[in-house]
Symmetry: C3
Subunit: 315 residues, 3 copies
Amino acid sequence: MKNFLSVHDVVDVNVLADKALRLKSAPFLHQSLGKNKTMVLLFLNPSLRTRLSTQKAALNLGMQCIVMNVGQDGWNLEMEDGVIMNGNQAEHIKEAAGVISQYADVIGLRTFAGLTDREKDYAEFVLNQFVKYATVPVVNMESATVHPLQSLADLVTIREFQKIKRPKVVLTWAPHPRALPQAVANSFVEWMQKAEVDLSITNPKGYNLSPEFVKDTTVIHDQMEAFEKADFIYAKNWSSFEDYGKIVEVKENWTVSAAKMAKTNNAYFMHCLPVRRNVVVDDAVIDSERSLVLQQAGNREWAAQAVIKQILEAN
Amino acid sequence: MKNFLSVHDVVDVNVLADKALRLKSAPFLHQSLGKNKTMVLLFLNPSLRTRLSTQKAALNLGMQCIVMNVGQDGWNLEMEDGVIMNGNQAEHIKEAAGVISQYADVIGLRTFAGLTDREKDYAEFVLNQFVKYATVPVVNMESATVHPLQSLADLVTIREFQKIKRPKVVLTWAPHPRALPQAVANSFVEWMQKAEVDLSITNPKGYNLSPEFVKDTTVIHDQMEAFEKADFIYAKNWSSFEDYGKIVEVKENWTVSAAKMAKTNNAYFMHCLPVRRNVVVDDAVIDSERSLVLQQAGNREWAAQAVIKQILEAN
Amino acid sequence: MKNFLSVHDVVDVNVLADKALRLKSAPFLHQSLGKNKTMVLLFLNPSLRTRLSTQKAALNLGMQCIVMNVGQDGWNLEMEDGVIMNGNQAEHIKEAAGVISQYADVIGLRTFAGLTDREKDYAEFVLNQFVKYATVPVVNMESATVHPLQSLADLVTIREFQKIKRPKVVLTWAPHPRALPQAVANSFVEWMQKAEVDLSITNPKGYNLSPEFVKDTTVIHDQMEAFEKADFIYAKNWSSFEDYGKIVEVKENWTVSAAKMAKTNNAYFMHCLPVRRNVVVDDAVIDSERSLVLQQAGNREWAAQAVIKQILEAN
């Protein structure tokens, strides 16, 4: 593994998930691997779970870990090539990536979708510019269209809790007061498509995800119908892909409630966090013993550690 | 010791202070205790001494230490249970505390009083919400009503410098341009009440601390009278408890001056810092050789280390 | 070496540069030197290279490293002695420096020129106030008038790439949309004056650097003339020293272009970064194989490590 940018950098998602689970029971076995190696985590956007779990993962492996909030601690970055830099961006991503690569053995980068230019977001413009100019492996800590460390942790969690060979997993859209990226949803879809699960997506009309991610996965616009016999309900809000980055009005109530969960096969409830309680999901569901949100977050540590370990072993 | 939230978590303040003093002469003796353990420090408010001394203390013990400015690096936290989260708070403290507990062996939390809702502040609402949902020990790095790491360092300093068995210690209110919490003063009072000192408090009318902290400690409204024969003068501003969070006008000059110090038994001057020079205390006093402000700050490291050590030993 | 504040703390710049180069080939040889020692990095201004390379250097030496954005994480500092602190500054630099010294074995400080009061900037008021009150060695991570870690890295880079004994080095002013300090330029001049190079400076009229830095170094106002036969072109913008901190209009185009570089002896191009592309320098120049900007930034790590190592050895 050179970079970890998306599921496409992973040979077998199930094998990687099982490696992560093994680290959970022995986190400190591989500390010589990271000796005198440094992980630099760059945040262009806020982060709690990713920030803490990735630091922890690197430290578990014996690495040093340096964290930087790029725009806040340093300089705003110009992403475009060839421009006359007489505006607010003091540093070009080419220099930033090239310089930081010299201080790091592995770089983690978080950069959210701008949600205004769909083509640029879906070309993963910022992530790819950074990778183009970096000279060391890059770990995607959530980019414009995917969040693979989250998806790997989600897969780990499903593998831990599934009771049947091919559980029914339903990704459901849910409401939110702000316009959010599609990254977590896209990424969950592409990981589940490679996992041993039966995936379907439910969302209101106007909220279909990009066809390039959905592929031949079933999309159902009736949430109640979709929930039937589900073993795992994965809730997440995203803004419209079609009317890009917009909040399109939805008349029905899509909040995940206990009544809706009752339609399922006693399903587990999942969400990547942070979550808007009583907007995305009712307290009764997220506080129930079927909720796996804390377990997912806990597995972020082992997911990150499995990825960084694989990168260190390959480089 | 499970948590360190206030003096009530300490069996004997004098014993703990002496343990801190022993660490000062051999800070690196216990590094195996913290091996593969992680301290996460969460700041909801600014901090200099606490930030640096607590990090240093954890590192001295061989721990890893991860620092996070919660609202700035991550998400604003919703503290109330049962609300519909459609406002500015992106994450509930229940998830935050539960998630971070999985990445940490000990968590430090700083959260100041809001100074608008006295009942909520004095119920230690935020600290208690966090502790309720955390699953690892929590160290109070200053909360709405107390600052026990500071008070422990203050006690250590008094024990280092006292020349008689039961020194006279005077806590004096002093002026300040901003409305400040009562936390340092409250905490100092409750620690001194358990220490081997003769404590009194002096403050203008309108600035009496909460009766639940003052208990039967003498309160004198005449600063000059209070200073007589004092061995230690501990200055601190606080906003009104009665007219909660307000700055009540004071006609007399309560700045600690050399002339006032002359009334004492050649007392040492103490303050927790940061201090407004020539408002709280005159340069002549804080710059004199009787000033212990730097020693107090230095002892923050050993206070934090003694507390974390005790938590690691107990867990 | 007690402090590292400017070139005047260095016995022989060439010897120090060669020490830095030796660390580059064996960065982890001296980890016992920093065992149980802590470096605290204090940033009053933004930083990318200095932040990361100095952390990395301290970690390479086996030290712990604690980073703090002073005004943002802690309190705004009052720099002036004797004032009544009833404004926005909550803490005096005297306490800050004295307190932090107790938690640190070495302190790094970054504090930019204010660019409004030339006398105060050129007296290095803030840096000197901090040093006056600090009780441990201080490393200048760029102050009002100099940036010696940068200059050392620049010298290291020139020594790595020079092909003749006494290369011709030209410092050229270049345009910039904002008013910048003279620190990098001043510092480069005073280091080069002590190095084995033939230095000249070229800048528009109105942009002469302080005579105390320029001394008898040749200043040429015709950029084309200055570039002739140069082996190294070092570009940097600075605001006016004479009309202090102002951007004085320049009619000619001072951007470093390929056409101008063609006048040189196939010179290397240098810049400290961050750089405004196509304002300070054209893409064609900075992207050419004669550009050393990444090498300079890479050498920041060894420059910082050589300086910290020397301080640790002396203290």
